[in-house]
Symmetry: C2
Subunit: 204 residues, 2 copies
């Protein structure tokens, strides 16, 4: 059964390793990545339509107004969002698309795409999350503590997600996500046409 691709929303606290997981899925598997739009200035080396869709503030506002954004947020005076059109076109071509989105954005997406697959990535323990953030050695304890508070808030919303993947080991996490995607493709909702055809061709 081929058909439309899946929309796979992946969230997880800072330090959960979701970025690495997404990069590994893109490398190993047959996934596409959703491309964000932003009002931030294009930087040297960044390619339009690959790293971002670069938009003026007016264009971004207009996309919001026309309901062309799956979710958006303001960060450091710039807007970031997920254009619906790119996602829709990608799944129509049969590709599974990954949307790496923080929890509040994922909840916005859920309102528009209830049929998307929502996966939450977490470390085995909270302590482990802290260790990973600390061992990066790039942020002050203030920032780390902010991230941990946010992780706590995000974790309390786990029920909004369909699946939890505990990233104890990258290989296992990747295998689990591939398993989820394979099972989702066997969901009865995707077999409407198949059943219709079977019933219409009883003598064929």
């Amino acid at each position: 059964m081929k058909g439309e691709g899946l929309k796979i929303v992946i969230s997880g606290p800072s330090g959960s390793g979701k970025g690495t997981i997404v990069q590994e899925l893109l490398k190993q598997g047959d996934y596409k990545l959703s491309i964000s739009a932003t009002t931030r200035k294009q930087r040297t080396g960044e390619i339009e339509g690959k790293h971002y869709f670069f938009k003026s503030k007016q264009e971004f506002d207009s996309m919001i107004e026309k309901d062309e954004m799956l979710e958006y947020a303001k960060f450091c005076n710039n807007y970031y969002g997920t254009p619906k059109e790119y996602v829709d076109n990608t799944i129509k071509l049969g590709h599974d698309i990954i949307l790496e989105i923080e929890v509040q954005g994922a909840l916005q997406v859920k309102k528009k795409y209830n049929e998307a697959v929502f996966i939450f990535i977490m470390t085995p323990t909270f302590k482990e999350l802290k260790n990973r953030l600390v061992s990066r050695n790039t942020e002050s304890m203030d920032i780390i503590n902010n991230r941990l508070t946010r992780a706590c808030e995000e974790l309390s919303l786990f029920k909004e997600y369909d699946y939890i993947v505990i990233n104890d080991n990258l290989e296992d996490a990747i295998r689990e996500i591939n398993t989820i995607v394979a099972a989702e493709k066997l969901k009865s909702g995707r077999y409407e046409n198949f059943i219709k055809n079977v019933l219409a061709n009883q003598e064929a």
Copy 2:
């Protein structure tokens, strides 16, 4: 994540190969099989609590009355049903249990166990279903045609199931069911205690 076992309801038309699939799952995997109760007389070689739980009509009626049957039906003047207790005890021990039940029974089970995993087995085409029934060479065309009519009725209820597995090839079908079961174990609903513990042990 261990926890409770899954309740896996498997249905499919006569000729879909669901019986072979279930036997193969039991042989290869770590599954238990739900044991039916019946008012039919115990036959030589049949073992109480293995092949069936043998019950008098009074006992069976009393189980229905006490809501101890997940589903039941009358067939050739005998009652057949699925006792709830055996299923509940099995999953509490962490075993995944398979309930091989025809569609009407499955719909009864769904009312009691909405959280169970419902899998519908079908051949790739209707013609193939017919071929398999004919090639058994054990039944008259009248009986085969009855079975095909029933298959058609059952197929039209496919949306009541969570997943469809097309049994084109036994090995693939087994792998798909194992994939479904693995993915179901990653469902967020099973992680309530995990998240609770993570949040309660932020300093641990």
